[in-house]
Amino acid sequence: MTASPETSTFPSQIGQRLLESMVRIRLVEEAIATGYAEQQMRCPVHLSIGQEGVAAGVGAALRPDDQVMSGHRSHAHYLAKGGDLNAMIAEIYGKETGCCRGRGGSMHLVDLKAGFVGAVPIVGSTIPIAVGLSFADKQLKRDRVTVAFLGEAATEEGVFHESVNFAALHQLPVIFLCENNLYSVYSPLSVRQPAGQAVYKTAAGHGIRAEQADGNDAVAVYSLMCDAVRQARSGSGPVFLEFMTYRWREHCGPAFDNHIGYRTEAEYLTWRERDPVEALERRLRAEGCFDEAALVDFKRRTSAEINGAFSAAKQAPFPDAAGLMDHLYA
């Protein structure tokens, strides 16, 4: 852990915001998990329950016009960046009202208005595209920053290195944001990366600033991100941030799967203890700035919002087959 952002005193305002952001993501993801059994959402879904601290911290550190790209596990990133909830849920249901008009599904979210420029399930493929966004921003002299979300497995793809090299070469305003949750599907790090190696060190090999921190500490994520954003926006080049975290449920789908053998229940429970939501709640409480009533109210409102999104999505029409060829060419 090379980073030591100032984290002991922080405005209660941002604490509350991070908490609400995480809670909202958690509630949405749980609603998807619950609803999945109805078999009406059938595209693969990759939930971020347990990893909300990263998305929340990153989202809070960005301006609305900053941009983000992601991969298969992108619900949290989309929501934290301000993506339209209704459009996301409708997309997962394959509906015409979805953010991709049903053409994409869970693994292909987009909300240009919110600066969520796109997600795709080919591991690593959005990384250079995100770099390209920042390349254009630099050329066109905009002061936007781009975040490329990636899992730790994406750093094993060669394109990650090509992207970092190019970003470093041109000192582009891009942040490589790695959520290291220790697994790629069922494969632990031990079968994919050399023993004793840390992902952020590999990134640092390219001569860029690279740091590692606790992804389940939303405030730490936020602080480090603010700093990285400052560097990137000021033209001092890209930053790589690695946040250690853990997904609670199966890689793809709504269930828990610790029993099938690729990881232990004990490991899961250790991370469960480190729930980013509870951790922040505890901390806010300790610092005397936890507004329980406000949170209860927020949860109530958010649940209503989510229910609304689900029922709207269920009632929305499927795309008309006559539109099959829509958007083939611009």
């Binding site: 394959g94 053409r103 497995a153 793809e157 599907v185 079968v191 994919r192 499927f318 099959l324």
Partner: protein, 351 residues
């Protein structure tokens, strides 16, 4: 006769190959995973050890190169991809390297390697988990390309591919995994090259590949009700391509419909039409037809997927055209209760 599923047949094929030849190794993301790579590798790591059945980093391009070097130096590796779409990252090692080394080094070395790729279909797979790019591989001399349809051929062609001294692209359709059929125990091979008459017939030739053979057989059943006796040819091997069998059939029936799992433009269906028009020109009595993906990326939504993935009814409709029969909308109507994002229950085999 013992019947097992396609997925089990693949696993048996691996078992036999690993057992007979210590040089055989299996690599791939999730090859030893608890779900057994869709049930096709279950138990193999336990039985043959982590050195012969192994996971790998998320590095498709690099790992494709690694298996080439391993093949040159005495192993017989199989590189497994859960989706063909991931293997697109490795077109250089597969097509520019593996396909050419034996030839361009004047025969100095052999390249016994298998690239196994699974193709997705159904709602949710969408634009990037269901690409059927068999024609890309079939286009490249130096490769062999197979696409088995039945459990029997899956096991026999897998063993043949592993025993072949050339790079073989082994394409497996996800919707065939559960299909059951007769599979002999132990070692046997199905030769790479010959196509197979899946159902003999006199009136029209249906050339199909992989999952579309199931749809073609269903179409043949429905055509029989119309009094049309269709011959169904299961290509099995795309390179080498069995032009002889295609031409024999077309010369007999005079009519041709090709059903592919992928796109039409410069796809395998184009090649089959080209072969027929070059080689059986005089015998063709009507314009041939192609049943393929519509010419757009694969949409995710079930309503669009239903309009997208070709089915037996589309084949029947195409056959009507070649026979000059009036079109019937009922052909392509979706039967009540059928969920198009799952394999048609009629196809759970045995074939």
């Amino acid at each position: 006769m013992r019947e097992i599923s396609y997925a089990e047949a693949i696993r048996e094929g691996f078992s036999v190959a690993l057992e007979r030849d210590p040089r055989v190794v299996l690599l791939g993301l999730g090859v030893p995973d608890p779900k057994g790579f869709f049930g096709t590798t279950t138990g193999l790591q336990q039985r043959f050890g982590a050195e012969r059945v192994m996971d790998m980093p998320c590095s498709e391009n690099g790992m494709s190169g690694v298996v080439l070097g391993a093949a040159i130096n005495g192993l017989r590796p199989v590189l497994n991809h859960q989706r063909l779409d991931f293997a697109i990252l490795s077109m250089d090692p597969i097509c520019t390297q593996a396909a050419k080394w034996h030839y361009m080094f004047g025969g100095a070395m052999k390249m016994p390697v298998v690239f196994r790729m699974i193709i997705g279909r159904g709602w949710g797979q969408g634009p990037q988990h269901s690409q059927c790019l068999q024609s890309w591989f079939a286009h490249i001399p130096g490769l062999k390309v197979v696409m088995p349809t039945t459990p029997h051929d899956a096991k026999g062609l897998l063993i043949a591919a592993i025993e072949d001294d050339n790079p073989v692209v082994f394409l497996e359709h996800r919707w065939l995994h559960h299909a059951k059929g007769h599979v002999p125990e132990g070692h046997y091979t199905v030769p790479i090259g010959p196509a197979r008459v899946a159902k003999p017939g006199r009136d029209v030739t249906l050339v199909a590949l992989s999952y579309m053979v199931a749809e073609a057989l269903e179409a043949a059943k429905n055509l029989a009700k119309l009094g049309v006796d269709a011959e169904v040819i299961d290509l099995r091997s795309l390179r080498p391509l069995d032009s002889t069998l295609i031409l024999e059939s077309v010369r007999k029936t005079g009519r041709l419909v090709v059903a592919d799992t992928g796109w039409a433009l410069a796809g395998m269906s184009a090649e089959v039409l080209a072969v027929a028009s070059e080689g059986a020109f005089g015998s063709l009595k009507a314009a041939p037809r192609r049943v393929c993906f519509p010419d757009c990326p694969t949409p995710t939504s079930p309503s669009l997927a239903a309009a997208y993935y070709p089915r037996s009814g589309d084949i029947v409709a195409a056959v009507r055209e070649t026979l000059g029969l009036p079109a019937d909308e009922a052909d392509t109507a979706i039967p009540a209760g059928v969920e198009l994002d799952k394999p048609n229950p009629a196809f759970t085999g045995p074939f």
